[in-house]
């Protein structure tokens, strides 16, 4: 495969000047890549100035500067745009600013903190841009679109109006390295595109849908993302794919107004199973809640993360073994980083032999994931008594009432809250 060191023209006067990283096999710890990635940077020439859009990872700066030097002199660069400040795009920024000190830097409002953390200088000059702001390069107009949380708070997209080119940052990108660059020339990268969405964008799908509202109406000829192929053939089809991926995977066939509560459990001797069944019984006594019960022993074989993404609440039952919740529970909880779970309702319960720490630990993790955990979990020493099973039923009932908005609203004295805490410890 040709690995030319040349800049590649993607439209008249607009070049790809990024870097190839074909040997990378693992990106940011969480992502695998079968053939590496690219750090895409672009150069836009107008009659009054030259803009550089994004830079590359610091380790690949030489490659980037060699390509940049083929299409522009440093003293011509009037504008630097960073669509996203993650180090794989901002790594060469300090050196670029040193070589082109006259250039004005344009970033989104939320990028300021990150810029200061990345470029340790007290003498930083930058311009904040929002949706609709423009920079005129002379016959080439850069228009900015604020698209936060794709996948950092700072992310934005930049359009070259006259060329209908969207520099999209990480969104619509993927980790796929192919020097042929354009989507109609590179190898089949569709799996990389979907995989990138699933691991990078999925937790932010509501923001993806907001951004699509902003970007879909644009009459684009080309999407130039910050990683992977440049999308010049059917660029809008990649937006449609994002819309498919960001739309709910499952539909609640029991009715749009029904809430969904998932009860997960795992049990050594059947005691936590009894408690899970009681939680379900209690929850089912409230109309308007669809309750589902799942055994976590088969955790790795079933798409529980997909179910949780669509659910309104989840209760997790675990025995305490050696002072901890059991591994399948932690496996499930650690998988939730791939989806948005904040503001869902959470609860924990379980049987124990000596100390019963698992419940508090699960509750803490649920709170750490920003779930609401308003009801103290239920613990039972070994075989649950009828009274303890009633408390499980009550837990399920209260969860369902929270979900349906029918919980009794009363003022709880702080002393009562502290007493609950004591009895639970």
């Amino acid at each position: 495969m040709n690995r030319s060191p040349d800049a590649i023209e993607i439209a008249p006067g607009t070049h790809w000047i990024g870097a190839l990283d074909p040997d990378l096999r693992e990106f940011d710890i969480i992502l695998k890549t079968a053939n590496g990635t690219t750090y895409n940077s672009y150069c836009v020439r107008g009659s009054d100035g030259v803009a550089v859009i994004d830079t590359v990872k610091a380790s690949h700066a030489d490659e980037f500067f060699k390509r940049l030097e083929q299409v522009a002199r440093y003293d011509e660069i009037s504008t630097i745009v960073l669509n996203h400040l993650e180090p794989d795009h901002s790594g060469a920024l300090p050196e670029l600013m040193r070589r082109a000190p006259q250039a004005k830097l344009y970033i989104s409002p939320k990028a300021q903190l990150m810029l200061k953390a990345l470029v340790k200088s007290t003498d930083l000059n930058f311009n904040i841009v929002k949706t609709g702001d423009t920079v005129d390069l002379g016959g080439r107009t850069l228009r900015f679109f604020n698209t936060p949380f794709l996948h950092w708070p700072d992310t934005q997209c930049t359009l070259v109006e006259e060329q209908s080119i969207l520099f999209s940052g990480d969104v619509f990108g993927c980790h796929f390295c192919d020097a042929r660059l354009f989507n109609d020339q590179v190898g089949d990268f569709r799996f990389s595109f979907d995989y990138y969405y699933a691991h990078i964008m999925r937790p932010f799908r509501e923001h993806v849908l907001d951004a699509l509202e902003l970007l879909e109406p644009l009459p684009l000829k080309l999407i130039a993302p910050a990683h992977g192929p440049v999308l010049r053939e059917a660029p809008h089809s990649y937006m449609q794919r994002y819309r498919q991926l960001a739309s709910p995977l499952l539909h609640n066939e029991v009715g749009a107004n029904n809430k969904s509560l998932l009860v997960f459990y795992i049990s050594s001797y059947g005691n936590t199973t009894l408690m899970a069944q009681a939680v379900v019984e209690g929850a089912e006594s409230i109309a308007g809640v669809r309750v589902s019960l799942y055994d976590l022993q088969v955790c790795s074989d079933l798409p529980f993360v997909d179910l949780i993404e669509e659910a309104d609440g989840l209760a997790i039952g675990s025995p305490t073994i050696n002072g901890d919740a059991v591994k399948p529970v932690w496996d499930l909880l650690s998988s939730l980083v791939a989806i948005k779970v904040s503001d869902k309702l959470g609860a924990a319960f379980g049987s124990y032999g000596w100390s019963g720490e698992a419940i508090n630990m699960i509750e803490d993790r649920l709170r750490g994931l920003k779930l609401r955990v308003p009801i103290k979990g239920v613990r039972a020493r070994l075989i649950p008594t009828e009274d303890e099973l009633d408390r499980c039923r009550d837990l399920g009932k209260q969860l369902a009432q929270h979900l349906t908005g029918t919980i009794e609203n009363r003022v709880i004295p702080m002393s009562e809250l502290l007493a609950q805490e004591q009895s639970h410890a």
Partner: protein, 94 residues
């Protein structure tokens, strides 16, 4: 002792607390999804929104104000580990 009623909007729970209580003391007990870092007003992790009743909260200290500004907080944001309730009704987004 004067009391304040603090409502956690997302939880749908109201707690009656003595005046002078810090929000962190209540939110931890009630199970609100506020995460904490240093608990000393320096890291900004526990920044939260006050929906109503800001007039019933303690004034921002110099330290809290500095950290809030650094985190580009709005006028309704407070640090749960620093802000105290003084009385009346307060609703927080948590």
């Amino acid at each position: 002792m004067p009391k304040a009623n603090v409502t956690f909007e997302k939880l749908g729970i109201t707690i009656s607390v003595p005046a002078g209580t810090r929000l962190i003391e209540i939110s931890e007990k009630v199970g609100a999804s506020i995460t904490y870092g240093c608990r000393e007003g320096e890291c900004g992790t526990c920044m939260m929104k006050i929906r109503s009743g800001m007039e019933n909260m303690s004034e921002r200290s110099v330290l809290e104000d500095k950290v809030l500004q650094e985190n580009m907080a709005g006028s309704s944001d407070r640090l749960a580990c620093q802000a105290q309730v003084l009385g009346g009704d307060i609703t927080v987004k948590a």
